[in-house]
């Protein structure tokens, strides 16, 4: 009896340990993150000595981390209210942006790949965005065409937004996510 109890404890321990590794390294690592509203970044992921979680995530999905000196990348899987980004809903991304020479906004699926669309448009760069008189911008994410900065979305499925800053001072001082002034993501309707 004692033997089987010990065996059971061992198996539960092994399964829990492997499960934790799988959970913390599949998709995006939950460790070493800095959050700002719906946006999450991994400042250590692009450093020469990343934490073991960032290293394991890169080994699993094959993404190429952006080197810290080149820029900084943020991902959002929810809107600013905390609801999962979904192709069946329309979103407005807008507001001011922090200082960077260039930045881009890219729409991806949950696995990190761009879904094909008729326009062949997967994102906007800071250079090409239309802005209002005060320099603010709004990007409309919707399956159906919109006037202005329209980013075509797949009609369904979970979405990920990627905000990439290049040649930015952001990466050097990131004690906390607060006050970064990143764009907000507002749901404007669902089908």
């Amino acid at each position: 009896m004692a033997f089987f109890t010990r065996l059971a404890l061992l198996l539960v321990g092994v399964a829990t340990g492997l499960g934790a590794t799988d959970m913390l390294t599949s998709g995006q690592s939950l460790v070493g993150t800095v959050r700002s509203g719906p946006w999450t970044t991994w400042p250590g992921a692009g450093a020469p000595k990343p934490d073991p979680y960032a290293r394991a995530v890169a080994a699993r999905d094959g993404h190429i981390p952006l080197a810290t000196g080149a820029g900084l990348r943020f991902l959002a899987e929810t809107d600013s209210a905390g609801d999962t980004l979904d192709g069946r809903c329309d979103y407005r991304v807008g507001g001011p942006t922090p200082q960077a020479q260039f930045w881009t906004l890219t729409l991806l699926n949950r696995r990190g790949f761009a879904e094909p669309n008729a326009l062949d448009r997967f994102g906007f760069t800071s250079a090409e965005l239309m802005r209002d008189g005060e320099g603010n911008f709004v990007v409309e994410i919707a399956a159906a065409a919109r006037p202005g900065n329209w980013l075509p979305a797949p009609p369904q499925g979970s979405l990920t937004l990627m905000l990439s800053f290049y040649d930015t001072a952001l990466a050097r001082g990131m004690p906390s996510g607060a006050g970064l002034g990143l764009p907000t993501i507002q749901k404007s309707g669902c089908r």
Binding site: T21, I64, L66, T68, Q101, Y166
Partner: protein
């Protein structure tokens, strides 16, 4: 009094069992986490070698295929080359004179960036660096004259193998062709120094 004793004993046993499970789970988690990069070959270097195994050749196919690397920025034109320092130092150069933003990043065998230069560090429009092992740096320093021409930036690497990524930003869709041509011009050559 009598029934209390075994209940306490059971409580201690459950607690000990729980601690044992946590301890085992912690050890398994740490070991499996550290082992993940070694037993999985899904990292960027392994993916690139599926396209081309030949070192120093500029590879653009892996970047052109949008289903290869996740979390890629479509505004960045990208080209790669693999390096192997076993056969000597490698000189990497990228002309970014016409680029709004361009970066050359050096990645280790696991795909992690270990060094990066952007167009801000370009000399006469060209970003140049020489990849070396620690021993090759020491040999180059011993061989060079005390006063002479300024050598190219040397990057001492712990891993002999890895890859270089050239990334050039296209601010507008109309600039994509130009950015791709610039990235494709990534040059990785043997024995640069």
């Amino acid at each position: 009094m009598k029934p209390v004793q075994p209940r306490e004993g059971r409580g201690v046993r459950i607690l000990l069992g729980g601690l044992a499970v946590l301890l085992i789970a912690g050890i398994v988690h740490i070991v499996s986490l550290l082992a993940t990069p070694w037993w999985l070959d899904g990292d960027a270097y392994a993916v690139l070698t599926r396209f081309d195994r030949e070192p120093l050749k500029t590879v653009v196919a892996a970047a052109a295929d949008k289903t290869v690397f996740p979390y890629r920025d479509p505004a960045l034109a990208t080209a790669f080359c693999l390096y192997d320092l076993a056969s000597g130092p490698v000189r990497v150069s990228l002309d970014v004179a016409a680029a709004e933003f361009g970066a050359v990043s050096v990645h280790d065998r696991r795909g992690q960036p270990v060094y990066v230069l952007t167009n801000r560090s370009a000399s006469q429009g060209v970003v140049t660096l020489v990849l070396m092992t620690g021993a090759q740096v020491a040999a180059a320093e011993a061989a060079e004259p005390a006063e002479g021409s300024i050598p190219a930036l040397r990057v001492a690497l712990a891993d002999a193998k890895g890859f270089v990524a050239a990334q050039v930003l296209a601010g507008f869709p109309s600039a994509e062709g130009l950015a791709e041509d610039m990235a494709k011009a990534l040059a990785c050559k043997q024995n640069g120094d």
